[in-house]
Every structure is written in C-alpha cells, then in structure tokens.
C-alpha cells in the first residue's frame, strides 16, 4: 500500500488532497483570500479543521503568515487565487526569502489547458517568483498534490528556511485521484558537520586573540541556538554585537553586550567592531546596513565565520576560518575560557559611555523613551512587530528585546506595511503573548485594511502609531544628504487615524504630550481587544546615530549629542 504520509487514502479531489495534506503536515492556520482559480480549495476548506484567516489583501496574508512563522516557530501558510491574488503575495514571499522564514505560499492557477494563453487572471507566478523562493512547484496531477505539499513543507523548514510556492491549476484542484503516491525522496538540505581541522584552528585563533568580538546575526534565532550562544558567552566572556535580526539572541542586559552594530547601531558596538582583532561571526551575512563601507569594516580583525549556509561564508568578506554547520555544535566545540579581562573592561566601559539617554528636553513625546517604557512595562513575554522607517530603528535601539522571536522586523526586504499583518499573525501563533505593533503614519497606510482582520477575529494586537506627518526616514536623508530638498515626503494630510481605527471597530485614542505617556501605556496594556494609540511626534525628529551611506562605521553622525 502506498505511503500516504498520514493522509487517509481514498478518492478525493486535488483540492481535498491539498487540505488533507496540510492538516497531516501539522498546519492549523492559513491566511488567505479567495478568488476564481482557487475556489475548489476554498470549497474543501468548508469541511476542514484548518483555521482560515480571511485577510483583506493578499499581501496581508503573506506577511501574516510570516509573523505567524517567526513568532510561533512553525511554517506559515498563505493562500491566494491566480493573477492579482498571486502577484499580491509576492512582496510577502520576497520578505520571507530575504529573512529566511519558512513559508508555504499556495496559489490557484488557471486550468492547465489555458496556461500560456494569457487567460483571464493568468500570470506566470512560478516564473515571477523564481528569484524569491527557496523552491517552487506547479502541480500537474491531482495524484501529486499531497506529496508535493509534504516535500514543500520539508524544503521550507530544512537547512536555511525559506518560502516555497505551490501553483495549483484549477483543473488539478477539481480532478479526482485515489491513493496518493508515497513521499518523494526529499533531499532535505542537511546542515553539514563542521570540519574538525577548521574547528581546531578556530579554537587556537580564539585562544590567541586579545580582542575577540562576537558578531551575532539572525541565523542564531533561526537555528534556535540562542541558549547555546548564551552558554558560549558565559564560558568565554566574549563581548558581543548583533545585527537587526540578531537582536534578542544575547541577553540585552549582559554587561559586555554592546547592542546593534551598523548604520543605526550603537557607537559602542561600532567602535568595538572597528578595534577588535577577531570577529567570530555567528549566523550573520555582512549585510551592507551592518557593515557600512565594507573595506573599512573591522579593519584589524581576522574572521571566523559560522553559518548553516555555506553559500553565505565568504560572500562579502573572506573568512580566515569557515565553519559551515550546526551553530550549537560549533559553539560548543569552540567554548573555552579566554584571558581577555582588559578587553571586556574596555567594552563594558564603551557600553556605559554610550548608554542610551531618555532625558530629552521639552514636553513633546520622545519616541525612544515611549518605546523603552512600553517594552519594560509589557514584560518578558511581549512580542514587538514593527514596520519600516524611523520607528523601526527606534524599536531596534530602544525596545528591550529578550529573545530573537520577540522581535519581528522586515530586515532584508525592508517592506513598509509589514508590521500590522505580521503582528496579527504573531498573535494568532502566540495567543498568550502581548503583541505590540509599532508603526508609522507612512507604513500603516500600506496595509491599513488589516484593521478589519483584527476586528473580525478580535485579535488583541496593541498598535502604537508614531505619526510625524511625513515619511520620516526619507525626510531625514533628504535633510542630511540631499541639501534639504524635500521631495514627496509630506504626509500632513493624513487621515484622522483615531477616527479611522474606530471606523474599523477598533478602540483608539491619541496622545500628543509627554505627560500622557504613562496613562497611554497603561491603557494599551490593559486593553483586552485590539487597540490603537495614535502618538503625535515631532516631524523633525531624526534617528541617531547614523553612519552616512558609503562611510565607515567609525564615522557616525550623532545629531542628538
């Protein structure tokens, strides 16, 4: 008898096989929007135990699936029809690709006989998505549906995670098939065993180093290796910096942890990188936002690069020692006490010297202080999802991030509109958690329709909308690097966001003075349903410090100093 991978063998339609295979794969929630070419699947959902969340735009479905996957540590699944439904998923798929999020995107397609004829709502989503998926399938026979779902889930989760697309022609959804073939032999991207000689060389290099520094990236959280990393730090006493996606991998209160490096990183982190003699890179990829001008980055450092994905090693900066393999295993093998007391003291002094200050003058609301206070009040289990722009950097700098999966941010793609759908996905994955969405007046308008999804399912996301009446980050760059020639950044004609949220049925209120902040935080945290707090902030506020484009991380500007 054929191995049906947990799916009961019987005669079913391709759509029914799809739903059954998702259930068998342990999927319990999918985000989607129906349409003509996916109707058989929606019909099959009527009889399914899968929880379908009807979003109000397919991009919201993909980004909600992303938030669900990141916060829940599970695969996120989104579903759309052909043509515009499929193309609307693309931004979310690209986001998952660049941030290595396990996702299954399922699209309806016109019937097989119509494919390639420019039929109504036909696009080649398989071809369009090739650069932004880990893998993709067009299923040509109903008999192959369940095996394809199994294979897709395995690919999405294994090795370096990523999105997988399944395009399902309508006739295949409708066709009936009996027992499904057994699982295709899936060559899951095995994480290689670390090379023993390289491990020995790395241990020796580490032992000889006088100023070693950990450079921690998102790969640590993806590998669920934060506890191995913290054990390693406890034994070695190594100071550390992290990328945007590495935030939370190390205890933010550790005295030798210097915070985020890079364009909007902490001066302590950037100075330490520039003066270290060894960089131990763990699950990071030398992204340009982290390194600044690459040829001046960590100029005196040798590099040991640890990553599960061999293709990331040496991509932008060559490593003296490459260690492709399981991060926990490699860290355990390298762990040793290091005689670096004076370097540790130097780094702790840097941390103290450049500690964030929250005593900005004036009565206006100081966004960094609000975010800091809210994060501390929200507690250890809070998850913050942010959009893209100035507020994204303020969250990275000032939110007390205690775990990698407590911070959802569109790091690679930088997709405005990410925050709200990702937050709703995260809240559904972690109903016990306090989920806060920090957005801006530019970003929230990109997926504002998902307020309706919050309302429909009573998803208790707390939204903090920092409104400066402009596209703040672009305005800041125009001020600093384009001679204050402001071009298309004015959003002063924004809608009344409180009234808008209320029109969606969401509780909402606004604040515009510093004295209102403690009460606003209490109201946000006490709310039992979705709530939006509109925060009026100074349109001239900038994010500091800033490494100018094309400059070394040692050349930070700090207008707040």
């Amino acid at each position: 008898m054929a191995d049906t991978g947990g799916v009961e063998a019987s005669v079913r339609s391709g759509a029914q096989w799809l739903v059954a295979a998702l259930e068998a794969a342990g999927v319990d929630t999918i985000f989607g929007y129906p349409g003509g070419a996916i109707m058989p699947v929606y019909d099959a959902l009527v009889d399914s135990r899968l929880r379908h969340i009807l979003v109000r735009h397919e991009q919201g479905a993909a980004l909600a699936a992303d938030g669900y996957a990141r916060a829940g540590g599970r695969i996120g699944v989104c579903l759309a029809t052909s043509g515009p439904g499929a193309t609307n998923l693309l931004t979310g798929i690209a986001n998952a690709y660049l941030d290595s999020v396990p996702m299954l995107a399922i699209t309806g397609q016109v019937a097989s006989g119509l494919m390639g004829t420019d039929a109504f709502q036909e696009v080649d989503i398989f071809g369009m998505s090739l650069p932004v998926v880990k893998h993709s399938f067009i299923v040509r026979r109903a008999e192959d549906v369940a095996a394809t779902v199994r294979e897709a889930c395995t690919i999405a989760r294994s090795g370096r995670p990523g999105p997988v697309l399944i395009d399902l022609p309508k006739d295949v959804q409708l066709a009936r098939a009996a027992a499904q073939p057994g699982p295709t032999a899936v060559a899951a991207a095995a994480v290689p065993a670390p090379d023993r000689d390289a491990l020995g060389a790395a241990r020796a290099l580490l032992a000889r180093s006088e100023r070693p520094l950990l450079y921690v990236g998102g790969g640590v959280g993806m590998a669920r290796a934060e506890s191995a990393l913290r054990d390693f730090v406890a034994v070695t006493g190594m100071p550390s910096v992290c990328t945007l996606k590495g935030l939370g991998a190390i205890d933010p209160d550790a005295p030798e942890h210097l915070g985020m490096l890079g364009m909007h990183g902490s001066p302590a982190a950037n100075h330490a990188v520039q003066s270290c003699d060894l960089l131990l890179v763990v699950g990071a990829r030398f992204d340009d936002r982290a390194t600044g001008k690459l040829d001046t980055f960590a100029p005196g450092a040798r590099v040991i690069h640890i990553d599960a994905d061999m293709a990331e090693i040496g991509k932008l900066r060559s490593a003296q020692i490459a260690l492709a393999g399981s991060i926990p295993l490699v860290l355990a093998a390298l762990s040793q006490a290091l005689p670096i007391e004076s370097w540790r003291e130097h780094c702790a002094a840097l941390r103290a010297l450049y500690a964030n200050r929250y005593d900005a003058p004036g009565a206006d609301i100081y966004a960094p202080a609000l975010l800091r206070e809210l994060s501390l009040a929200a507690g250890d289990q809070a998850i913050v999802s942010c959009d893209v722009g100035q507020h994204q950097m303020w969250v990275a700098q000032h939110w007390h991030i205690r775990a990698p999966h407590a911070h959802l941010s569109s790091g690679g793609l930088g997709a405005m509109g990410y925050g709200l759908p990702a937050a709703l996905g995260a809240q559904l994955a972690r109903p016990d958690a306090c989920v806060v969405c920090v957005s801006g007046d530019g970003s929230i308008m990109m997926n504002i329709q998902e307020l309706a999804t919050l309302r429909r399912y009573a998803i208790p996301v707390k939204i903090v909308l920092l409104d400066n009446g402009c596209l703040g980050m672009v305005r800041q760059w125009q001020e600093l690097f384009f001679e204050q020639r402001y071009s298309e950044v004015d959003l002063s004609d924004n809608p009344d966001f409180v009234a808008l949220a209320q029109a969606f049925g969401i509780e909402a209120f606004g604040i515009d003075a510093r004295a209102q902040v403690p009460g606003a935080i209490r109201r946000l945290l006490d709310a039992r349903g979705p709530i939006l707090c509109h925060v009026r902030i100074d349109p001239r506020a900038n994010v500091w410090p800033l490494v100018p484009p094309g400059k070394s991380n040692g050349e930070m500007m700090d207008g707040a100093a």
């Binding site: 398989f126 090739l130 880990k134 893998h135 993709s136 690919i155 293709a311 090693i313 991509k315």
Partner: protein
C-alpha cells in the same frame, strides 16, 4: 574572467530557468550553454560564464538549489 561549470540537476519543471537565473542574478553572463537530459531524470548542463565575482561562491549558491545534485567548476 571566464568560468566553466558542469551542473547535474533533476529534470524538473523550472530547473533550467532557476539555474540560469541564479547565475545571472549573482552577476554572471551566460556565454554558452549545453543541456542534455539523460537517464534517471537527470539533466547535465555545461555552462560557460563570464563574471568578476568569485565562481566558488556561485558554485555554493547553485549547490543549495533544491534540484541541483552536483556542480563542478573549471576556470579557464
């Protein structure tokens, strides 16, 4: 620099597109291509590429494609 790659990959839908797209997106210009489907649903591809980036890195990027089974590299 001219690079010659030999790639063995599963003959599945989109495999060639994915292979060529990856090479081009990673900064290589395809000068010559020979592809032949053989036994066991395997397709053998000989590629001649031009590019200034590290071909070893491209090799690793191709090796992580799901359908790719083997990549070998010879620099001319």
């Amino acid at each position: 620099m001219i690079q010659r790659l030999h790639v063995t990959l599963l003959d599945v839908e989109g495999a060639l597109q994915r292979l060529l797209g990856t090479a081009e997106r990673r900064g290589f210009h395809v000068l010559q291509l020979h592809a032949e489907v053989g036994a066991g649903d395997l397709c053998r591809v000989a590629l001649t590429l031009e590019g200034v980036r590290d071909a070893m890195l491209l090799r690793r990027q191709l090796e992580r494609l799901h359908e790719v089974r083997e990549v070998s590299l010879a620099t001319e």
